[in-house]
């Protein structure tokens, strides 16, 4: 299956939430040469505390690395539409390791086709909770591919409600408040009238309400700095100063 067919399996034409799937990682899947991971464990994930996909719940999966893909597959099995939102560039010696995510998306494509999720199924937006937690020290020789989410990466609260969504459930590890960038997204939804709930995948509790507080002035200012002048529009772009590949006289090198 080529990159385009894999993307189609995860974001099929005609599915209600397909337009929000981020294509960049799919467009670069063929550049990953690591062995495909096993994804079978998605079948044994406990999703018994997740509301039925016939209800009015949209889900945000905020789990690290491959766990987010596995949870996406488990939720697809439950009837949700996984929407991969991995808006991450790839390159050699990247500080955010997305090999496992890429491998799971590739292997999981067959499972997605077999599950035949309904086109109007509610969404489960998949995020890598490690998107700002480098596995390697930032510094010379590293490709800095950290990323953040922005409200523009998701449907608006108005759109969610217009399509029958009545609440948003954040699936995460632990009971921590939502991380900074996601908190901005959730806050907008909350202000639009959507209750926000969370569930700890390691716990046993039912989903509980998650009150999103407006970020402090400092955090708001910081978010603005990294969002407008930093991670999304500025100079994090490779500022780890990776050493590019030696020029060999043909083709594309460096971080293509």
């Amino acid at each position: 299956m080529n990159d385009e067919r894999i993307f189609e399996a995860w974001a099929p034409d005609g599915a209600l939430w397909t337009p929000w799937a981020k294509p960049v990682l799919f467009a670069n899947l063929s550049r990953f040469s690591t062995p495909a991971p096993s994804i079978d464990q998605y079948r044994s994930l406990d999703v018994s505390r997740i509301p039925s996909a016939r209800g009015r719940t949209a889900i945000v999966v905020e789990l690290p690395g491959i766990d987010s893909v596995l949870m996406g597959l488990a939720l697809a099995n439950l009837g949700y539409r996984p929407v991969p939102l991995y808006n991450v560039n790839v390159g050699p010696n990247a500080v955010i390791d997305v090999d496992a995510i890429a491998g799971a998306l590739r292997v999981g494509a067959d499972a997605m086709r077999e599950m035949r999720v309904q086109p109007e199924a509610p969404p489960a937006f998949l995020l890598d909770a490690n998107r700002m937690r480098p596995a390697k020290m930032l510094g010379p020789g590293k490709f800095d591919n950290r990323w953040i989410v922005m409200p523009q990466d998701f449907p608006s609260g108005t759109m969610l409600m217009a399509r029958g969504i009545g609440e948003v459930l954040v699936v995460q590890r632990g009971e921590n408040p939502a991380r900074g960038d996601l908190a901005h997204v959730l806050l907008r939804w909350q202000r639009a009238g959507l209750p926000i709930l969370s569930i700890d995948v390691n716990g046993t509790d039912r989903p509980r309400e998650m009150k999103i507080e407006p970020p402090s002035l400092f955090r708001r200012a910081w978010y603005r700095v990294i969002a407008l002048a930093g991670l999304r529009r500025g100079n994090v772009g490779g500022f780890g100063a990776q050493i590019p590949e030696e020029y060999e006289g043909g083709g594309v090198s460096g971080f293509a």
Partner: protein, 411 residues
């Protein structure tokens, strides 16, 4: 005056989905959705051949004036503060060393149709984007309609111009590599360079080293032939000093597209210094709405002025009373009151709407020039008369002629 565009039916859902997917995988369009907006319009904006020729001629005249003005401004440091440039950029421009060598000068002029004919809202002389949409994506759209063609393959024209300026065909594409929206432009250009037999290195500006006055990839002993910069000039001073970022402005012997001296004409405050230049700028004067220092006009009490930051991009920070949200307008007005020398007030014009199935929309046709020759166009269309991040990309196609042949760069 009649509208200069022709009606075209939108693609059906199936055709649109296939078009969108091909745009993603064949043309590196990795931001096809922004919040609730599908960024690729499902229809083209078709213009007559005569219209395209008129726009191309205007853009070429504008380019000639722009490059002449820029050459003058490089030697007039006393005007740089008036342009609203950051202090570090002004310091880099003030050096006595020769300006960095510019090649394959890529500029995009944004045209709007009005009752009084064509007007421009701005020129993107520093790092004009939209190459993917203006090139392969427009060609994908053209496949769905009979009797029309893309007005030109800008990315291929640009790749060819870069290779023409190189000795061995090695071009470093300098950009913010982690930023998907920028990376997609350079990845696409890299593919075009490779297709023409060249070699592309996609790097951040911090991944270059300078030896003498030549740029090298950090671990290479061979100099880069040409640098193509897709990294705004005003961000360069944020780089570590060891990166020698000043060489993007002056004292760089590696040919560069565009040299950072382009920031001199990128500033929207350029009209404020026209009268002190030898270049007469007749086309600019005819097409750009009246542009004033905010302190010189009563913008607070009137609707006819648009507020723009001197170095704003993609419609960021533009204030139009009644179009911008009240909250955003208040924020912009407060900033303009405190920092008027970083802003301009520009007289508002009434753009001709384009009828779509979703209602009236306002097109903007960005015409690219390379070394002064028109090579193609990037279209955007918005539901309100402000082109910002909410605007959709619309393919510009031409009817009445099979293929554009405006210049030697056209594929």
């Amino acid at each position: 005056m009649s509208a200069p565009w022709l009606a075209a039916r939108p693609l059906g859902p199936g055709a649109y989905a296939a078009f969108r997917r091909r745009a993603i995988f064949e043309c590196c369009k990795w931001d096809p959705q922004v919040e609730d907006t599908a960024t690729l319009a499902p229809f083209p904006l078709v213009v007559r051949w005569e219209t395209w020729r008129e726009l191309a001629a205007l853009a070429e005249a504008l380019a000639s004036e722009t490059l002449s003005a820029e050459a003058e401004l490089v030697e007039c440091p006393e005007l740089h503060a008036e342009l609203g440039l950051p202090r570090a950029c002004r310091a880099a421009l003030r050096r006595s060393t020769p300006p960095t060598i510019g090649v394959a000068r890529l500029i995009r002029f944004d045209f709007h149709h009005t009752r009084d004919g064509w007007r421009i809202s701005e020129a993107n002389t520093d790092v004009p984007g939209g190459l993917n949409e203006a090139s392969g994506i427009a060609e994908l759209m053209a496949e769905h309609y009979a009797g029309v063609a893309s007005v030109g393959d800008v990315a291929t024209a640009y790749a060819r111009a870069l290779l023409d300026a190189s000795d061995r065909g090695h071009v470093a594409l300098v950009h913010a590599t982690a930023y998907t929206d920028d990376h997609q432009v350079m990845a696409y250009l890299g593919r075009r360079l490779t297709a023409l037999g060249g070699a592309a290195s996609l790097v951040s500006p911090a991944q270059l080293r300078w030896q003498g006055r030549r740029a090298f990839l950090a671990n290479s002993s061979e100099p880069v032939d040409v640098l193509a910069r897709f990294y705004p000039a005003e961000w360069l001073p944020d780089l570590p000093r060891a990166s020698q970022w000043e060489r993007f402005f002056r004292d760089g012997a590696t040919p560069m597209s565009n040299p950072a001296t382009a920031v001199l004409t990128q500033s929207k405050r350029l009209p404020l210094v026209w009268d002190r230049l030898r270049t007469p700028m007749p086309t600019w004067r005819a097409l750009l709405p009246e542009t004033r220092h905010p302190r010189d006009v009563a913008w607070r009490d009137a609707d006819e002025w648009v507020l723009k930051p001197a170095l704003g991009r993609v419609g960021d920070g533009i204030g139009i009373r009644g179009v911008t949200t009240p909250k955003e307008w208040r924020r912009i007005a407060r900033t303009v009151r405190v920092f008027p020398r970083w802003w301009i007030a520009q007289r508002r014009f009434e753009a001709t709407p384009f009828a779509t199935e979703g209602g009236a929309a306002y097109p903007c046709i960005g015409v690219y020039t390379i070394d002064g020759r028109a090579v193609g166009a990037y279209g955007r269309i918005a539901v309100k008369p402000l082109i910002d991040w909410r605007a959709r990309d619309v393919s510009i196609l031409v009817a009445g002629r099979e293929q554009s042949s405006t210049n030697r760069y056209t594929a």
